[in-house]
């Protein structure tokens, strides 16, 4: 059997490890993961894309699909994401959102608040911290959170507000430290997944869905800073 998973860009490293763990226990099964922005996956699934599971960065997309009858399962929350300040050129470890007003910082990358969940939360946080007015002229917008990280990593933006999961990835953690953005400054980054309608009959899809809530998978998620949403445990 074979399944294809569509996963939000912030899951890139975590999901790779989850799949590796899944393969060890299910050696005969094929699992492909495609990463991208949640909004695009949404449009594609609406148009019969051959994805069996959809891990959205915003549980809202998953709910919309379920409402449209395109889900073969209930919407399951699987993680809450965290925002961090990250920089490849400066030491971000001691930074706060207020440090972004520093005139020496000229470019700050966030994901596009219009459609990227991390972008929306970044905007909320900046507003809540009262620096939006100073920071806004310096902002550049990544199409998704991975591209946002790229802007920072290539030095074109000095600082970025990215996913903790990415900052913890081997590629980025080697280049610079990060500072967590306090959770209270924004709505939770609640992430959820569904089994799509086309996979209704797929045992493998169910098994993977179950596996993703299993302790080995949770351990991986924890490693990448994804906390389990309250009340989702044990489902």
């Amino acid at each position: 059997e074979k399944i294809t998973i569509a996963a939000a860009a912030d899951l890139k490293f975590a999901m790779d490890d989850v799949v590796t763990a899944f393969r060890q226990t299910n050696p005969g099964d094929e699992v492909e993961v495609v990463y991208g922005s949640s909004g695009k996956f949404f449009a594609q699934i609406q148009n019969a894309a051959p994805y069996d599971l959809f891990f959205s960065a915003d549980i809202g997309y998953a709910r919309e699909l379920a409402k449209a009858g395109l889900a073969a399962s209930e919407v399951r929350p699987y993680a809450v994401g965290r925002l961090v300040l990250w920089s490849a050129s400066l030491d971000a470890r001691g930074m706060t959102l207020a440090s972004l007003a520093d005139p020496r910082i000229t470019r700050i990358a966030i994901a596009n608040p219009r459609h990227a969940p991390y972008g929306q939360r970044a905007e909320e946080a900046l507003r809540a911290a009262g620096v939006w007015a100073q920071v806004e002229p310096k902002l550049v917008y990544g199409e998704n959170i991975a591209q946002t990280a790229q802007f920072v990593q290539t030095g074109n933006a000095q600082v970025g507000l990215i996913a903790l999961a990415l900052a913890l990835s081997p590629e980025l953690s080697a280049r610079g430290g990060h500072a967590l953005v306090p959770e209270r400054l924004h709505q939770p980054l609640e992430q959820g997944f569904i089994i799509t309608r086309r996979a209704a009959g797929s045992a493998l899809a169910r098994r993977f869905a179950d596996f993703s809530a299993s302790p080995p998978a949770r351990a991986v998620m924890d490693r990448y800073g994804f906390v389990l949403p309250a009340g989702a445990a044990g489902r």
Partner: protein, 224 residues
């Protein structure tokens, strides 16, 4: 380079070759008609042919996705014909790319056909060549540089296609994950060394092909 990279390269080559071949078949008569007609439809048809150019590929991809999806016009048609749905399949990529690259085939060909003028075709007719015969034995060889330009632009443009493929391809290994998407994936995964490697292979390969093509390029023929 990983197997996936090789697979992506191979898929890209297959896609570009298929699209170029199909567009030679489709674009040539269109270009010929445009080059020689005096019809008042010439302007509108030219504009329609050029239209895919101005549509951003992602936008084009989105609308193709809607059109070829289960609720779209094309989608209903292909389903009614028992062909299933086109998006997320190699066939779908081919259809979308043909649509997308049409102007790259038609416009250079049209210019090349126009540059030939009437006389050689008149001469061919006096030498017993039917219009079809004259087309193949005179117009096509005389427009050879145009065919080359058109084919290179089309092939290359298909190789470099990204937005459309991303939208209606769905990034499926072996079916729709072409090299451009694969490199993009590497980049998005922050796997830069892999991205560099694949990009370099693509670059060197393309450069070699182009160099070979241009070395062989038929010299433009002057009037006689």
């Amino acid at each position: 380079m990983s197997d996936q990279d090789l697979q992506a390269l191979w898929l890209t080559a297959r896609l570009a070759a298929t699209v170029t071949a199909l567009l030679l078949l489709i674009g040539t008569p269109v270009a010929w008609w445009l080059a020689r007609t005096g019809s008042r439809w010439k302007g509108p048809v030219s504009a329609v042919v050029a239209l895919p150019l101005v549509l951003p590929p992602s936008v084009l991809g989105f609308y193709l996705l809607l059109a070829m999806g289960p609720e779209g016009l094309v989608g209903r048609l292909t389903q009614a014909l028992g062909l299933g749905l086109l998006p997320f399949s190699f066939g779908g990529l081919v259809v979308a790319s043909v649509f997308y690259s049409l102007p790259f085939m038609v416009q250079p060909l049209q210019s090349a056909f126009e540059a030939i003028g009437e006389r050689p075709l008149e001469v061919a007719a006096t030498l017993r060549a039917s219009p079809l015969d004259a087309f193949f034995s005179v117009a096509v060889p005389m427009a050879a540089p145009g065919f080359l330009t058109a084919s290179v632009l089309t092939f290359a443009h298909t190789v470099g296609e990204f937005g459309v493929v991303l939208m209606i391809g769905g990034n499926l290994p072996g079916a729709t994950r072409v090299a451009s998407v694969q490199i993009y994936d590497h980049v998005e995964s922050l796997a830069y060394p892999q991205a560099h490697r694949l990009a370099a292979v693509l670059l060197v390969f393309s450069f070699t092909v182009l160099l070979a093509v241009y070395a062989w390029r038929p010299a433009a023929r002057r009037e006689a």
